[in-house]
Structures are given as structure tokens and as C-alpha cells.
């Protein structure tokens, strides 16, 4: 009995101490993230335009209604989903071979890994400009390479193609890096046992490696989906939203920064935030990802 009480007290003390140690970080986080988020939610209930600072009135959910009934929002939402789904899917397919190469290389291992990761190091805006110049009909090399005369960024389908290509080129290395981390988790004994049992390379990959890597794959896909959903800079540089390529983040930018409409713009930001939360919940619940596997294992 007594020992139990003591243990409980000790645990409570430890917990208290843990919170105390975390407090500075938590306070800073509240200051720099929680406050702006709450303020944005608060602003989104107002009709508040910086060009008419005196006419600030509470409108309740009017801003949300106005956005959700606007064709602009749904067009942007479908554009964003097209970009997100196609770029993440293609990245996953391309990242696997890259990760395997990085994992299995025996010679020049550092050089291979560095070369693979290079595009990820380049700033997105710079990368987007590089691709823009490459696809430009007068200065670019792509038309010459393909023997075409195409003004790539003047049509919807080809604009999407260029944006998706830029995204893939830029972030596949990130995906590959996450998968590489997953590959290191696969125990070598299992692979060898399977080989003894007569499994060929493809079977070993599909039946052993991929299932063992499942948590890493899902985390990688989740991170990239959240990132891709908020896509802004690539589109801004390549088309600035013309040819119906506007994304939800660009809608937010146009409303907040260009139109200075703080109320409506905050409502857009909150809606993007909600979409992100929904995506995360769907992933975590739907695919049963455990982000902190070891801890939960211990408790069980």
C-alpha cells in the first residue's frame, strides 16, 4: 500500500517536473502559433477590411457561407486536390527506387545520397523559376529537346503538368529520405530467412520489406500530402494562378495580402486549417498510423 502511494507521488512529482521543464517551450509555442491561430479564428467572424478600418462589424458565419457558396473556392479546392494527389502518388512511386539505390549503394555512398538530396536543398522559388525558364518557348530548352513548339504555361493541362513536374523534382528526395529511414528498420535476418525459403527479390520486397516499412511509408505520405495541400510558391512563380491553376493557398493570399480583406481572408485560412486537420485525422484513423509506436507499446 505504502509503496504504491509513494510510487504514485513520485510519478506525480516527475510529471510536474516534466511540465515545468516543458513550460518555456510551451509558452513560446503558444505565443507564436496558438495566438495567431486563435486571432485568425476570431477575425474570421468579422467583416473587416484594412481599406475600411472603421467599418468593422461582427457578421458571425457570413464569411464562411460566402466562401463555401463561391465557385472560386471549389475550383481552387479541386485544383489543389489534383495537384496534391497526382504529385504525392508519383513521388511515392519514384521515391522507392531512389531509396533502394541510396540504401544498397556500396561505393560512393555519401556522394550518391548527396546527389539525390540536392533538389530538396534548393529553395522552392528558385527551383520554380528554373523550371519556368526551361519550359519558356523562347529561352527554354524543353521545346528544343522534344522538337515541339508549345507555349507550356498558356494552357491548363500543360500548366498543371509543369507544376506537378516541378513539385515532383523538388520533393521526391524528401520522400526518398523518409523511405530510406524505413528501409533501415527492416531486419536483415527476415530477408535472409525469406531467401532461404526460396523467395525471389520481388517477393522479398512485396512480402517483407513493404509491410515492415508501412509506418514509415504512411508517415512520409502524410507529411507530403499536408505539404502539397498548402502549395503556393511553385504555382505563384509558374502561373500566378492563371489558366485556372489557382490553389486554396493562393485564394488566401489574394484575399489577405492583395485585397487586405482580413475577415474573409482569415476565414479562408481557417478553412485551409480545417482541411489539413481532416486530412491528418483521415490518415491517422484510416491507416492506423501510430506516430509514437514505441511509447504506446511500452504502456501496453
Amino acid at each position: 500500500m505504502l509503496r504504491g502511494n509513494e510510487r504514485r507521488k513520485q510519478r506525480r512529482d516527475e510529471q510536474y517536473q516534466a511540465w515545468l521543464l516543458c513550460a518555456p517551450a510551451v509558452l513560446v509555442l503558444i505565443l507564436v502559433t496558438a495566438y495567431p491561430i486563435l486571432y485568425a479564428i476570431w477575425l474570421s467572424f468579422f467583416r473587416y477590411d484594412l481599406r475600411f478600418p472603421d467599418q468593422r462589424i461582427f457578421v458571425g458565419l457570413d464569411n464562411y457561407l460566402s466562401i463555401l457558396t463561391s465557385e472560386v473556392w471549389w475550383q481552387a479546392m479541386s485544383n489543389t486536390l489534383i495537384l496534391t494527389i497526382s504529385s504525392v502518388a508519383l513521388e511515392l512511386i519514384l521515391a522507392f527506387p531512389l531509396a533502394l539505390i541510396m540504401y544498397h549503394t556500396i561505393f560512393w555512398r555519401h556522394a550518391v545520397r548527396a546527389a539525390t538530396l540536392l533538389p530538396y536543398v534548393i529553395t522552392t522559388v528558385v527551383a520554380a523559376f528554373a523550371w519556368k525558364f526551361a519550359f519558356d518557348p523562347t529561352t527554354g530548352f524543353i521545346n528544343a529537346l522534344l522538337g515541339m513548339e508549345q507555349a507550356w504555361l498558356t494552357q491548363r493541362w500543360s500548366s498543371f503538368l509543369v507544376i506537378i513536374l516541378t513539385e515532383i523534382w523538388k520533393t521526391t528526395p524528401f520522400m526518398a529520405l523518409m523511405l530510406l529511414a524505413g528501409l533501415t528498420l527492416v531486419p536483415n535476418e527476415l530477408i535472409q530467412a525469406a531467401r532461404v525459403d526460396g523467395a525471389n527479390a520481388w517477393q522479398r520486397f512485396i512480402k517483407i520489406t513493404v509491410p515492415m516499412m508501412k509506418p514509415a511509408i504512411l508517415v512520409a505520405v502524410l507529411f507530403r500530402t499536408l505539404d502539397a495541400f498548402r502549395i503556393f510558391d511553385t504555382v505563384f512563380v509558374l502561373t500566378s494562378g492563371a489558366q485556372d491553376t489557382e490553389t486554396v493557398s493562393m485564394i488566401g493570399y489574394n484575399t489577405l495580402i492583395v485585397s487586405l480583406n482580413l475577415g474573409l481572408g482569415s476565414a479562408v485560412s481557417v478553412l485551409i486549417f480545417i482541411s489539413i486537420v481532416v486530412i491528418s485525422v483521415l490518415f491517422v484513423k484510416g491507416f492506423n498510423i501510430t506516430l509514437s509506436k514505441r511509447e504506446s507499446g511500452d504502456q501496453k
Binding site: P24, A25, D62, S66, T69, S70, V72, A151, V258, L264
Partner: protein, 417 residues
């Protein structure tokens, strides 16, 4: 980890604070510096004006030129972000004619009153002067102006067509080289195209008090069907839906087009880039829609305003008046090809040599139309260009209703744009 993060956060915060302190120390200067935010003018005419005025002021002020991007949308974006935040580092603003109402309503710029106003008004053309007015106050001094003309090839056409219908018919008889260049991308230029056509047809976007939507049915449908007819005719350029002023100019300079709707800057550009076609360039007024009424087009140009957050507002008024004086308008016209706002300069021999189309331009400016002078102009313009892009897909009856709806939403600053 937590410790490291905290320490580094504290370091960053203290660095920012230190930087702030440094900034404040710099404030004491002998000669006040006035920052003039204006688009990056390539000929250097603005820089000369800034230098001259600084010298003439005998050390009462020094004008520093802060270049803004070439694209007016980006200029506005950078300016409004600073102005809304109360940035004190802006003194003089090179203000596009369409920003007057917005900047004035928001309290970002100061009105011109008493003697400064009289000086700024003196001898100016009516249309540019109208562009600095909002709610019976004057919010800037007109510096340079601009309007579109019809440019055509005198070696292919004997006489400039006076109406859109005639021009399209004439262009069709010319076959492949008959192309008409215009602005059809989804941006301000498409709005200008629509507003000009609408004014020519006798309509306007807003009522005379610039508060409610006007958009009378008959002239609007007339304007929309002209746009659709033009965009779907074989004489429109293949890339009309992505053409801005510059693309139109470049295409015209190749010699494969016979007509172009564009601003006066193309004149000096053609002299330099395409000397072989330069002798065959003619100009005329913006095409009309009927025989008896002339074509009307929206004016452009730059006015100079004084920021409400300026620490040296009195000096800024003085400096702005100096920059926009006759002497510097002359430099802007001869060096940069920017049409003056002082009426008398259009009869000046030197200017008439630099701008040989001065008479046509003056006549155009006399009939020019203002884009809606409402603080919500930016939203109204977006509503127009979004609804009407691409021009080839315009269905006049259907789009008339969509346009009304989009502009109404913009005016109530409700929906997304």
C-alpha cells in the same frame, strides 16, 4: 533540446530588438530624406527629376528613388502592405490613376489643399486631373498620363478604320498578315479593354456617383458581343488569351500583324527594335462602335501622392510638385516617352518631335473615360477580368448576368475574387 530551443529563441528575439534600436538611432539626419516609391522607369527620367529637385531644394530635402516592380499589380501589393501597416519610410507615392479612391478612403494619403492644390492643378488636362479627385478633394498631382491608340501599317492600309466592325472586316481581307493585336490575358488590361468598349457603346460600370452598379443592358451586351466577335474571328492572334501589352508589341514588331491596340510606349520601342517597319507605322484614335460617336478609352498614368505616415509631409508636397513640374514632365516625355499632363506641352515643338502622335493623343484624352473611382476598384477589376476571360468564350446574354453578379459581390466586398 528544450533548453537549446529556448536559448536560440531568446537569442533571435534579442537580435530583433537590437536591430530595432539601431533603426531608431538613425533617425537624426541633417537633410531629411524623402523616399519616392515609384515603378522602375528604364530611361532614367525619374532619377533625373529626383536629382534636380533635391539640388534645387538647397538641402531642405533629398529625394531617394525606391524602385517598384514593373507590373502595376505587384506595385500595388508592395505599397498597400506597407501603407496598411503604417510604414513611415514612404513619403511620395507614384500612384497609378486607379488607386486614388482606395488610398484616399483608407486614409493612407494626404489631400492637397490651398496653395499646393492650386499649383498642382495649374494648366493640367481635365482627364488626368479628374483621376486624382475623390469625394471632392484632390489626392495627388498629375505627373504623366497615358491612353491607348490604334496603331496600323500604312503600307497595307490606306486609311485607318474608324470602327471595330470595319477594322475586323478590313483585317480579314488582308489574310494572314491582317492580325489585330490586343490585350486578352486575365489581368487589368482585359478590364481596360472592356471598360473602353463599354464607354464607347455609351455605358459605364458604376453610376455617376461611383457607388452603385450601372451596367445598362444594351451597351454592355454591345460591348460583350464585340469582344466575342473579335476573339473568335480569324484576325485575332492565336495567343490572345495570354497577351499583355508587351506580347502584343513584340508580335507587332515582327511585322506579321497589321493592327494593334496599345499604349504610346510602343512608338519608341518600334523605332529601336524594328527600324524596317517604323516608317510604315500610322496611328489613329481607338476604334469606335458607331459612325457618329468616337471611340473612348480608359486613361492610365502616374499621379504623385504624399503618404499620410510621412514624417516630412510638408516637404513631400513640395518635392512632389517639383517632380511633376513642367520641366520634369518635359524630360519624362522626351526621354521616357511618357505623355505629359500639362496641356501646353502638347504644342511644344520638342515634345511633338518625341511624340509625333501628340494631336491624336490629346483628342483621345479629351474623350477619355475614368475607370470606376471606387475604393473597391481592385476587386471590381478582378471581377471583370475573371468573368470575361478567355474572351473567345464570352456569351453576351449569359455573361451579362454573370458580370453583374460578380461586380455586385465585389462592391459589397463579400465573396472571393
Amino acid at each position: 533540446m528544450v533548453g537549446i530551443r529556448l536559448v536560440s529563441t531568446l537569442c533571435i528575439i534579442s537580435l530583433i530588438m537590437l536591430a530595432g534600436c539601431n533603426d531608431q538611432k538613425k533617425e537624426k539626419e541633417v537633410t531629411p530624406t524623402l523616399s519616392w516609391y515609384v515603378f522602375n522607369e528604364p530611361s532614367g527620367a525619374f532619377a533625373i527629376a529626383a536629382r534636380n529637385c533635391s539640388e534645387n531644394s538647397q538641402n531642405t530635402y533629398q529625394i531617394k528613388l525606391v524602385p517598384l516592380p514593373a507590373d502595376p499589380d505587384r506595385q500595388r501589393e508592395q505599397l498597400v502592405r506597407r501603407l496598411a501597416a503604417g510604414d513611415q519610410s514612404i513619403d511620395i507615392i507614384g500612384m497609378d490613376v486607379i488607386w486614388t479612391a482606395e488610398f484616399a478612403q483608407a486614409g493612407w494619403i494626404l489631400p492637397w489643399r490651398s496653395e499646393t492644390m492650386e499649383e498642382a492643378k495649374a494648366n493640367r488636362l481635365a482627364a488626368p486631373l479628374q483621376s486624382v479627385m475623390y469625394q471632392d478633394e484632390m489626392w495627388g498631382v498629375p505627373y504623366t498620363t497615358n491612353a491607348q491608340l490604334l496603331w496600323y501599317r500604312t503600307d497595307r492600309i490606306r486609311e485607318a478604320p474608324t470602327t471595330w466592325q470595319k477594322m475586323i472586316r478590313l483585317a480579314e481581307t488582308l489574310g494572314k498578315s491582317g492580325t489585330i493585336q490586343a490585350q486578352g490575358e486575365r489581368y487589368e488590361g482585359l478590364t481596360v479593354f472592356f471598360i473602353s468598349l463599354l464607354a464607347t457603346a455609351g455605358g459605364s460600370v458604376l453610376d455617376t456617383r461611383n457607388e452603385k452598379i450601372a451596367l445598362a443592358q444594351e451597351p454592355t451586351i454591345h460591348a460583350l458581343s464585340t469582344m466575342a466577335h473579335f476573339a473568335n474571328s480569324p484576325v485575332a492572334d492565336r495567343t490572345l488569351s495570354t497577351a499583355r501589352e508587351d506580347q502584343a508589341r513584340l508580335a507587332f514588331e515582327t511585322g506579321n500583324s497589321s493592327f494593334m491596340i496599345n499604349y504610346t510606349f510602343v512608338w519608341s520601342s518600334i523605332q529601336q527594335n524594328a527600324p524596317e517597319i517604323a516608317p510604315h507605322i500610322g496611328w489613329a484614335r481607338w476604334p469606335s462602335l458607331s459612325k457618329d460617336k468616337p471611340g473612348r478609352t480608359a486613361i492610365g498614368g502616374i499621379n504623385l501622392a504624399v503618404s499620410a505616415h510621412s514624417r516630412h509631409a510638408r516637404l513631400a508636397f513640395e518635392a512632389a510638385a517639383c517632380i511633376a513640374s513642367e520641366r520634369h514632365q518635359r524630360i519624362a516625355a522626351t526621354l521616357g516617352g511618357l505623355p505629359p499632363t500639362i496641356a501646353a506641352l502638347y504644342d511644344d515643338a520638342e515634345i511633338r518631335e518625341a511624340l509625333p502622335f501628340a494631336d491624336v493623343l490629346r483628342a483621345t484624352l479629351r474623350d477619355a473615360v475614368q475607370r470606376p473611382q471606387t475604393p473597391l476598384y481592385n476587386d471590381v477589376s478582378l471581377a471583370i477580368s475573371r468573368t470575361l476571360h478567355p474572351m473567345r468564350d464570352i456569351e453576351p446574354d449569359k455573361d451579362y448576368i454573370r458580370l453583374r453578379d460578380a461586380i455586385s459581390r465585389a462592391l459589397s466586398s463579400k465573396g472571393l475574387l
